[in-house]
């Protein structure tokens, strides 16, 4: 029931003169947890609202399962949404909040009126609604809160109520708009686990909007990274991390950010990084090389670098080093056993198979590795 695929075909949207979404194609599989990630203003929330039906696309269509729902009202799409602000009805108790989607769908307008409704609504239906509400509350462990008002709840509890309201009526898919961003760091990590568990348990389709790459990386089956109204890359978290399709993706994913160094491939395709020749072959021209902090190695030869700062993060140390060549800095990650100090001189080696090459247009450039060449 809660497993419908969602397809977007050629969706575009502008607000006035601003293009917010440009020709988006996206297929979300049944039961998939897909994250839309990007900086604020990249169009991810608009895209979610278009799927929800709260916003109409200028062009393109939205499919739920096989049905084209582009022209349908949000209430007819059978989707549930969790808002960043939770959007709980402040004047209703938690119980009434969770019951609202059911009452709206099952009861007629007169039966929903405050006093008259009690006389008009069939008792069996009301009992069923009650049972469903209790079940949803149990799932999220908020049974003891059912008679409170949202104003009396903590952020985490409101979050659970919002989730309960979403799952009370087996929707075709769950849409979540930055649902964890109003929680403190510790609770956020906890709710991340719970959301992932909930997804596994329900087997439902989740579309999850976030600006936080950690949330996306830890929970998603697939991630669609959006930049300036386009999907820059769609793939598994590993794909995005290990094989970023563009320089922008490489920059966005990963913390600390990837190190970027100027490079060049000569006429024969031999790549020189920051003046150091390597065993990498690529198409001739200027390049940017990306190397993750954990992939940089230290040794007896390679790029000379001076340690500027050492940050200890328990198991890891992050070293910020200055490259004398162009005064840029790189970050490298070392185990806690290493004992570097500020001012130490290091030699940095870039393992060729770990280097990500990008052309001047920002696109990934395929690379080959020859036999090892003397540095």
């Amino acid at each position: 029931m809660s497993q419908q695929s969602i397809d977007l075909r050629g969706v575009s949207k502008s607000f006035g003169a601003t293009r917010v979404l440009e020709d988006i194609d996206l297929s979300v599989k049944e039961g998939e947890f897909l994250s839309l990630v990007g900086m604020s203003g990249c169009g991810k929330s608009t895209l979610l609202r278009i799927i929800a039906g709260l916003e109409a696309p200028d062009r393109g269509s939205v499919f739920i399962g096989a049905a084209d729902v582009t022209a349908r009202d949000p209430s007819d799409r059978n989707l549930a949404m969790v808002f960043q602000s939770y959007a709980l009805y402040p004047h209703m108790s938690v119980r009434q909040n969770i019951a609202t989607p059911l009452r709206m769908r099952i009861l007629t307008l007169p039966a929903r009126l405050p006093l008259l409704g009690r006389l008009l609504a069939p008792t069996a239906v009301l009992a069923q609604i009650d049972t469903d509400v209790s079940k949803a509350a149990e799932t999220l462990q908020i049974t003891h809160l059912l008679d409170r008002k949202p104003g009396q709840l903590s952020g985490g509890q409101r979050q659970r109520v919002a989730l309960a309201r979403a799952l009370v009526r087996q929707p075709a898919a769950f849409l979540m708009d930055e649902p964890l961003s109003n929680l403190d760091a510790k609770l956020r990590a906890h709710m991340r686990d719970e959301l992932a568990a909930l997804h596994r348990r329900l087997g439902a389709t989740f579309i999850y909007v976030t600006h936080d790459q950690t949330e996306a990386m830890t929970m998603s089956d697939r991630i669609a990274l959006m930049i300036d109204g386009r999907i820059e890359q769609l793939g598994t978290p590993d794909d995005l991390y290990q094989r970023p399709a563009t320089l922008a993706v490489a920059r966005f994913i990963g913390s600390p950010t990837i190190n970027l160094l100027p490079a060049e491939a000569d006429g024969e395709g031999r790549v020189t990084i920051a003046g150091q020749s390597t065993s990498i072959l690529a198409r001739p021209g200027p390049l940017t090389v990306g190397i993750r902090p954990e992939d940089l190695e230290t040794g007896d030869e390679g790029l000379a670098a001076e340690v500027l700062r050492v940050e200890t993060h328990g198991p890891d140390r992050f070293l910020t080093c200055a490259l004398p060549t162009d005064r840029s800095t790189v970050t490298l990650r070392q185990g806690a056993s290493a004992r570097p100090a500020r001012g130490d001189m290091l030699k940095l080696r870039i393992p060729p198979e770990r280097a990500h090459l990008f052309g001047s247009d920002g696109q990934r450039v395929p690379a080959r590795i020859t036999g090892r060449v003397a540095a």
Partner: protein, 300 residues
Amino acid sequence: MTDAALTPAAPARGAIALPRGLIFVAPAVLLMLAIYILPIVVLTGFSITDYRLGALRWEFVGLQNFRAAFQDPVFVRALANTALYAVLVIPTGVFLALGIALLVQGRRHSRALWETAYFLPVTATLVAMATVWQFLLHPTLGPVNAAITWAGFDPVSFLGNPALLIPTLALIGIWQVLGFNMVLFLAGLTAIPNDLLDAARMDGARSPIDRFLTVTWPMLGPTTMFVIVTTSISAFKVFETVAVLTKGRSGSETLLYALYLEGFEYSNTGYAAALTLIFLAIVLVLSIGQTLRMDRRVHY
């Protein structure tokens, strides 16, 4: 800095803050005594005497003035007129304003225009506008009756027919209060988070009526309460239109106008003081709950 260095400063600050606060509030306190407290005491005193302004002798009459008030046909009529006026003005002035606010709120480009148009009567000097209304509603010279006769009806003597006097005053009262209430409702509507309306749509509130009943109306609760209270208080204070248009003729006195006549035209100070206390009691009943809630505003 050590604790020792800070300690001497603490009592000193307490010591200077004490008289300083009193100096700051002194002018306000003196004015409060002169304008509010003393007059209320004097008013209460007057109300149990037969004092007339300028009279040399006066006597205590106990609650006689209050008993007289409720046997005074003029005052009872004024009370009834004011109640009728309030009954006409409050529901129309509140719910019409809500309707206008709902319509205005949806207009993105023309909102300022409509706001201005509906708010203009609030800023206009009512005494002058009442004169304009008198002319507008004139049985032979005014365009309103011209329109009525053009539509095939007999001209209506809005300010001649005694039965129509209070409804006519109420019409002008509604005209004046609509813009004010509209702006209050607009403020209330703007405070409703858009997410809630979106959530209601996702939850299946398909029609605007459904969304209004699920979100807008309950969220407007405090605003509506406030608008009703302010509208009722201003309805019970209706005076300008009476003073300009009817001067209380044909039994059209309102509470405040009757009070004005007794106190300042006829100089029945003691009796007028009793009427004033009755008027004050009505206004207090209407406003006290609202005012007490002001400090801890209703927040869900």
